[in-house]
Symmetry: C2
């Protein structure tokens, strides 16, 4: 392959080769791989000339075409440079010799990651593993879910999908699901909307993230959040560059009277405040809508577990009362169905829809079409409503048992905070009690129970415990809280 | 319900009621609803006193307890204020009387949406509807997909899932899928990694969005993108606040020699440049890695359709050659399997993984656990590799037919740009030709074909056409391009 290949004084390879005895193809591959490795790890130095194919073939005892083929591969890959009128030389592939454990490892975090993410925000407390039956919040009961119906509809959706050409689902969600959600919220929460107003999201957290990016001008927009309040909603707005303003909560919910006039966005959980569980009173709802109108703010209404209600009539959703297109209503199926579905939605005012879709397109997080079709059919055929109807009395009984224990054997330490909905209950800790001791006892005897402080941004955090009752039986509640009472009495 | 209810001179309602003839409960509901509507629309003014329940009952011809019940509901809701020692009065619910068509609708876009989103970026050109068989890019062929295997594995995954308690999948993805992906890329792309290094994303776009938020300090970080290059990747980095720097592409791929020294991130498509289709030469790969090391930058390697290769050996992925932990390798299953799966992944350096997971947690976009398990099994059982092996010759034949037409009847207008992989082919338009006329003819006779200009950030955009051949048969290609040739000859 080079004119001076007949020169017998040229050096042969200084490196050993291990070539298979049979199969030119295999010998070519082996020779190529071994030469390449030698070049990469520097045993064949940059600029070093390769022996001619004839000479190499002799030295290695292989056919010349084997060497030529291996050389050609190396040349094609740029490991070897062909030089007209001279023997090919090893290319200078400096990058390949750089150590994988360069100085970067140490510097990287501080230099190459955006400041906002250099120290990742802590995971939500519930990311820590817990026993299957516990007081954890945020996860519903799985044992009464209509799995057969779900699997049947899932199989049907994938079957129908298999007959259609491939494509990307609409960024706002598949029409059938948006319609089903509109009917569901109209029925269950008197949220009047049609499918066009619904944007399907990857769960409520994705909705918060999208709304934060939609509504926050980094470093400028002030956003009011409940304190105590849901931490990862707060984190989503902070990550978007919002100036987060904590606003206290009392037994009527958000202290609307304490809302600064310059907040552009107010995030609130009216049905079942997270974590205290109180409902935003009708007076406060009217005041909040008036405040938003007067000071030109929008409201993010987080209705995460409002489907499960234990008193007669629910209060109207803010979205229902809104006459001024200021409310973004966020719902999720993670509590009413199951978390793995990771599907939620935003009912958005018309003026924001195109931009919201654009934000969503950037992140491209849509549930697979067939899964959306499955959920749409599940809702349309009444399984969601039936499941909620079925679970409500089950959760209600657990809630009753929990209240009995708190107002009975534990009344010296706890005072339940009134609520009418949801899957968890909060209880104030008696100011006279030693909160530290109470929380220690909770950790030991009521795994999963949280402290309201975990939700708080304020120094004078509410001294309260938060008990989830969605994944624990009435008897387990009685037992655990009896143990808790005994431990505290000591 | 009030002490002076015996006063006969008190006014009765000034508004008419329509109450059902039978059923106290229904009469209560009707009275409650009609009173509430009258308060909301102002027919009953704020401060106006309600007649006593006795007087109202007489006037309406209903039982007194019916009126008392309706009043109590209104009081509970805050529509009516009870006043000790006096008759209840209509509350001032100003918010409810505000018009839904307030001044907001007009002002909103400009004032309440973050500047970045006030004018949504345009949808990718392919969002416009196209005939089923067309030259569109970005969507693979559905007719040869092993739907039965997929449905079987999907049913199995949901069945297994139904036996476990509910919970949230890990933010980085389910372990089985991360493992399967690691083995898949090691086998198909020589990308050496283990499951821990893989973060599952909602498609490649979600990966770009996460990396943009991870790596971009808004208003400061300079990010190099290929020009022409993939528009929505660019948009994701721009949306994160990056200063986007377009860098030209030639027949060896990205012009590494033109990379500014101050870019922190370089986004590149080495296997199959989007849209020109050229492969980044080995020399350029080495130079790019050297540049990144020298100037402390990281590389986002977008390998969106590299699985489909039509020449012998692929060039090594940048991730494979990287010895300095600077490459984020992004892959997707939208092309090798189907878009609706909306699942991609990032192979991330160790130093960035915790922060990347934190960014992902904010957006909470994880594919449902059972879908991830389905995909994991699909890969583990070899269906993915088999499907790619099966589709490659099918796509290769279409590609051949496309090349024949471009180099044959269309050679006066087009010069194909060399490429060795992927699902689309780009062809330069002869400088002597009237580009406008060519593009008009393309729109009419080659639906789905794009212009490279749609991908370009530069004024002197590459004059080229981009033909997808994934969803069009060889015969359709021949026919369409024959029509195109005839049209252009006129």
């Amino acid at each position: 392959m080079s004119p001076d290949s007949s020169n017998l004084r040229e050096p042969v390879f200084a490196i050993p080769f291990d070539l298979p005895g049979i199969g030119e193809g295999q010998r070519t591959a082996a020779l190529h791989r071994q030469l390449r490795d030698a070049i990469i790890d520097g045993r064949l130095a940059a600029g070093e000339r390769l022996p001619s194919s004839r000479r190499a073939a002799e030295a290695l005892g292989v056919a010349r075409k084997t060497v030529v083929a291996a050389y050609d591969l190396l040349i094609a890959e740029g490991y070897v440079l062909p030089r007209p009128g001279a023997r090919a030389a090893v290319a200078d592939i400096a990058a390949r010799r750089a150590s994988r454990t360069g100085p970067l490892e140490a510097r990287a975090r501080s230099e190459l990651i955006a400041p906002a993410w250099r120290t990742p925000p802590p995971r939500h407390a519930q990311a820590v593993p817990l026993p299957e039956r516990s007081f954890r919040t945020g996860v519903p009961e799985h044992r009464f879910f209509p799995h057969d119906a779900w699997r049947r509809l899932s199989a049907r959706a994938w079957r129908q999908w298999s007959k259609r050409p491939f494509g990307y689902p609409p960024v706002e969600g598949v029409p059938a699901l948006r319609e089903a959600i509109a009917q569901h919220v109209a029925f269950s929460r008197a949220v009047a909307c049609n499918g066009d107003e619904v944007v399907v999201t990857s769960g409520a957290q994705n909705a918060f993230d999208l709304l934060a990016r939609l509504l926050v001008e980094p470093g400028r927009t002030r956003v009011a959040v409940e304190s105590p309040g849901y931490p990862t909603l707060r984190q989503a707005f902070a990550a978007a560059g919002a100036l987060v303003v904590p606003v206290p909560v009392d037994d009527e919910g958000l202290r609307v009277d304490l809302l600064p006039k310059d907040v552009r966005v107010v995030c609130v959980t009216p049905s079942h405040q997270s974590p205290t569980g109180v409902a935003l009173s009708m007076r406060r709802r009217a005041a909040l809508l008036a405040h938003a109108r007067e000071h030109d703010a929008v409201i993010v209404e987080d209705d995460y577990d409002g489907e499960f209600r234990y008193s007669g009539r629910p209060l109207d959703a803010l979205q229902t009362l809104d006459r001024d297109a200021r409310v973004f209503y966020v719902g999720t199926f993670s509590k009413s169905l199951f978390p793995a579905i990771d599907t939620g939605f935003v009912v958005a005012p018309a003026w924001a829809r195109a931009s919201l879709a654009a934000v969503k397109r950037m992140g491209d997080s849509h549930a697979p079409g067939p899964l959306q079709e499955t959920l749409a059919a599940f809702i349309r055929e009444g399984h969601l409503a039936r499941h909620v109807r079925r679970m409500t009395p089950i959760y209600a009984q657990r809630r009753e048992v929990l209240l009995e224990a708190l107002e009975g054997g534990l009344r010296r330490w706890f005072a339940p905070i009134p609520s009418i909905a949801g899957l968890h209950l909060a209880a104030r800790i008696d100011p006279a009690a030693d909160a530290r001791a109470v929380f220690d006892a909770l950790r030991r005897h009521a795994p999963g129970a949280q402290t309201a402080a975990e939700y708080s941004l304020q120094a004078d955090a509410l001294q309260a415990a938060v008990f989830g009752y969605a994944v624990i039986d009435a008897d387990d509640i009685r037992e655990a809280l009896a143990r808790l009472a005994r431990a505290l009495s000591r």
